[in-house]
């Protein structure tokens, strides 16, 4: 019998026992479990790998704990700019977007590009226009606001530094 399997990630960085509280650790684990098991259930019912990865990533994009979709970090300009990609191993078809704003689930836009476009990668305003033409859901700027992400940005916005998903500022303090 063919094995089915799914794996997910929610970002990497300076994540140690000292940087997470027990409450945070429980919340992260619950979110990961929900996403991976939703994808696995779909596979177990005979769903495709492409549908399973799209579903799992959509769930993670809706979770503010992770830097994607709703939980996206702030740019230098105080905005949210998102990138995403999706690829099918059977057909080698791919869809990707870069620098889009206001798209609720960028991974759904990549699926539309994969299936309904002759292109592989769209960016910026053009990608958003494509999203509107294909009824991809948008969300207001307030949807992407997260107090923790805002605080992270405040610590570095007057510098030329940029930070990875889960990187703590350990030695530098910015007044």
């Amino acid at each position: 019998m063919q094995n089915i399997a799914i794996a997910i990630h929610g970002g990497a960085g300076t994540i140690t026992k000292n940087t997470l509280t027990t409450t945070q650790e429980i919340a992260f684990n619950a979110a990961l479990k929900q996403a991976v098991e939703a994808g696995h259930r779909l596979l177990a019912k005979g769903g495709t790998a492409l549908d399973a990865v799209e579903l799992a990533v959509t769930i993670l994009e809706d979770e503010p704990l992770f830097n994607a979709g709703r939980g996206s970090v702030f740019t230098k300009a105080g905005k949210h700019e998102m990138d995403a990609a999706l690829m099918c191993g059977k057909t080698m078809a791919a869809g990707a977007v870069a620098g889009v704003r206001g798209i609720k689930n960028p991974i759904k836009l990549t699926r539309a590009i994969l299936e309904k476009s002759d292109n592989v990668m769209l960016s910026g305003y053009g990608a958003e226009e494509f999203a509107r033409e294909h009824a991809i859901e948008f969300a207001p700027e307030s949807y992407f606001y997260d107090a923790y992400r805002y605080q992270q940005w405040c610590e570095v916005r007057d510098t030329n530094l940029f930070l990875m998903d889960h990187t703590e500022q350990r030695e530098q303090k910015f007044g």
Binding site: Q2, F66, A68, E81, M87, A96, N160, L163
Partner: protein, 135 residues
């Protein structure tokens, strides 16, 4: 960044990655995520890969495709290929991060060189595996 890789009951693999980029990024910077072959790649002949980490290093090393190539041309196992790229090649150039990968046989690799990576996997009826920290 978030990502997923999967293999279905027909033996087809797929990969997906999504990100908000880096805090305080400027000049419409994009990372490896949307670049096919760097941060996301899937090929039924080899594997599916989704990356996370310092994107510039993943772009320069064409990480996801590199793993596929090691399997296709050098006969590496999925785990060997992931470790070669993440724990050897990337570290040498200072690239921090990790990846998840799956192959059509249902093997899974969760490999990272940072202090932690939020991760989870489930195969067949086996128990769900969750992880955050190294080890």
């Amino acid at each position: 960044t978030v990502g997923a890789v999967a293999v279905d009951s027909a033996g087809n693999v797929a990969a997906a990655t999504s990100t908000g980029g880096m805090t305080n990024k400027n000049f419409n910077r994009i990372g490896d995520t949307p670049i096919i072959g760097a941060g996301t790649y899937a090929n039924n002949a080899t594997c599916a890969v989704s990356c996370t980490g310092h994107g510039e290093f993943f772009i320069r090393s064409v990480v996801a495709y590199d793993i596929s190539c090691l399997i296709e041309y050098k006969g590496y196992t999925l785990q060997e290929a992931c470790e070669e790229v993440v724990l050897n090649k990337l570290i040498k150039i200072g690239g921090e991060g990790g990846l998840i990968a799956v192959n059509p046989a249902g093997d899974i690799a969760l490999t990272f060189n940072s202090e932690g990576m939020y991760r989870a996997c489930k195969r067949n009826d086996e128990q769900t595996i969750l992880g955050i920290y190294k080890n």
